[in-house]
């Protein structure tokens, strides 16, 4: 069942004294997939980081999230992998959440298979190629079975087969989860996403709403809780 997951109102975010993003109103419903498109410097990454709730808080305005923030995961464009094995990386968020060891192994294997890296558990993360590193980061995010998955340019640096697999994965994940991904490729965004949000020079230019969630007006959401870092 589709429900409101995010409600943004009067958002303005500054970095080094310069306004980098302004979003008057925006509602995101899930499950489903939302693409954020725009040129370099349009504010795509900033929007995703603000949605993550743990990395940045807006200079002014409100970003409300109706679910537990720990069920929101962001995969960076250039993800950092810890200096450990692939399994150590994918299992990190499970370890943080004290998931029992026996359950971790199974979930790590499933997540790695989902991104096409089955059997990579014991490999050192530092020996992987760029594309493999991005896929490990994706596995590290989906292993949590998040409610919201934020992907910053997930197709960057991936070859044709890997992009096809990624597209399939986004579509599969968006059945149970809200997947918000940024992209330069408008055609891919339109093909994959149920909704496309356009940003330009730090401003919301518009967005389609094919599965019912308009950009405005903002619906009432009594259970909405502000995102604050723990």
């Amino acid at each position: 069942m589709t429900r409101s997951l995010y409600r943004i109102q009067g958002l303005r975010h500054e970095r080094a004294g310069r306004t980098v993003l302004t979003v008057p109103e925006l509602v995101l419903n899930g499950p489903g997939s939302v693409a954020v498109v725009g040129d370099n410097g349009a504010g795509k990454t900033t929007l995703l980081r603000l949605l993550s709730g743990s990395l940045e808080t807006p200079t002014s305005g409100v970003v409300q999230c109706t679910i537990d923030r720990r069920m929101v995961v962001l995969v960076d464009q250039d993800p950092y992998l810890f200096a450990t094995t692939v399994a150590g990386n994918v299992g990190y968020p499970l370890k943080v959440r004290r998931v029992p060891r026996w359950e971790r192994g199974e979930r790590i294997a499933t997540a790695l298979k989902a991104v096409g890296l089955g059997g990579f558990e014991r490999r050192s993360a530092r020996t992987l190629s760029g594309g493999e590193r991005r896929r490990v980061a994706l596995a590290r995010a989906i292993v949590l079975k998040p409610k919201v998955l934020l992907l910053d340019e997930p197709d960057a640096g991936l070859d044709g087969d890997a992009v096809a697999a990624l597209e399939w994965l986004i579509q599969a994940l968006s059945e149970d989860c809200l997947v918000v991904f940024s992209s330069h490729d408008r055609a891919r965004a339109a093909r994959l996403a149920g909704r496309v949000i356009r940003l330009g020079d730090g401003h919301l230019l518009g967005g389609s709403a094919p599965f019912g969630e308009g950009l405005s007006p903002v619906p009432d959401s009594g259970s909405a809780a502000p995102i604050v870092p723990r």
């Binding site: 743990s54 993800p79 810890f82 200096a83 450990t84 990190y92 968020p93």
Partner: protein
């Protein structure tokens, strides 16, 4: 001179009991000092990087300055504190191994804290961000960062060890160089050389060099292994 070197090797390979007693005591004192100083310097170094408090900049300068304080000055201050009329005289630690540990710990602390701070400050900012984004709380994210910097931190501990294991000034002043009790490698070298017993001093000097070599080899091996293998993230 060559006779002295040969005699020194003879003492090492014949497992001269007095020589190895001094070596064992030195190692024990320095290891204790580095473990205690390291346990305090790690969170202190982390605070110097991530803490938000007034006077942080001044504290960084003070800690940097303390790395250059002559060991004999630390020995003198500690002697004043631990002597019978001093504020810590009641502990009755002067001329005991505890005083040696305290002295070496005080010398090692600023060195380790400075190196840990530098290591953490130069780390990829994405380490903390990634840990936080994956649900780690502040403490867990901090431990993860320390784990990611484990090689640099180990190097800091090794450097601290190397700097204090051979110091003479402080050990002489607060340890008193008492045979069988507070005599360390460095104070023994100073004493035996003063007596003209160069071979014993040379033997200890060679052991010190060998220790430095082994510690550095171990560090190199760790760094090499970390490049191809992983370790557990905290």
């Amino acid at each position: 001179m060559s006779d002295g070197v040969l005699h020194a090797f003879g003492l090492i390979f014949s497992a001269d009991p007095e020589l190895y007693r001094v070596v064992a005591r030195s190692l024990m004192v320095t290891l204790c000092a580095v473990v205690i100083a390291g346990a305090l310097a790690l969170p202190f170094g982390y605070l110097l990087v991530h803490g938000r408090f007034a006077g942080r900049g001044a504290l960084v300068i003070i800690i940097h300055t303390l790395t250059a304080v002559p060991t004999v000055v630390v020995g003198l201050v500690l002697f004043t504190l631990l002597s019978r009329g001093g504020p810590l005289g009641g502990l009755d630690w002067l001329y005991t191994p505890a005083a040696l540990v305290l002295g070496q710990g005080l010398l090692a602390f600023p060195i380790i804290a400075t190196l840990v701070r530098s290591a953490l400050a130069s780390m990829d900012v994405r380490v903390l961000e990634t840990a936080r984004a994956l649900g780690a709380g502040r403490l867990r994210a901090g431990l993860t960062q320390l784990s990611e910097g484990r090689l640099a931190i180990t190097a800091a501990l090794v450097t601290g060890f190397g700097r204090v294991v051979g110091e003479v000034g402080c050990a002489m002043m607060v340890g008193g160089n008492i045979e069988g009790y507070t005599r360390t490698m460095s104070t023994a070298i100073a004493l035996e050389s003063g007596r003209g017993e160069f071979s014993f001093g040379l033997g200890l000097g060679l052991v010190l060099l060998l220790l430095a070599l082994l510690v550095n080899l171990a560090l190199q091996a760790m760094q090499g292994r970390a490049g191809i293998q992983g370790a557990t993230v905290g």
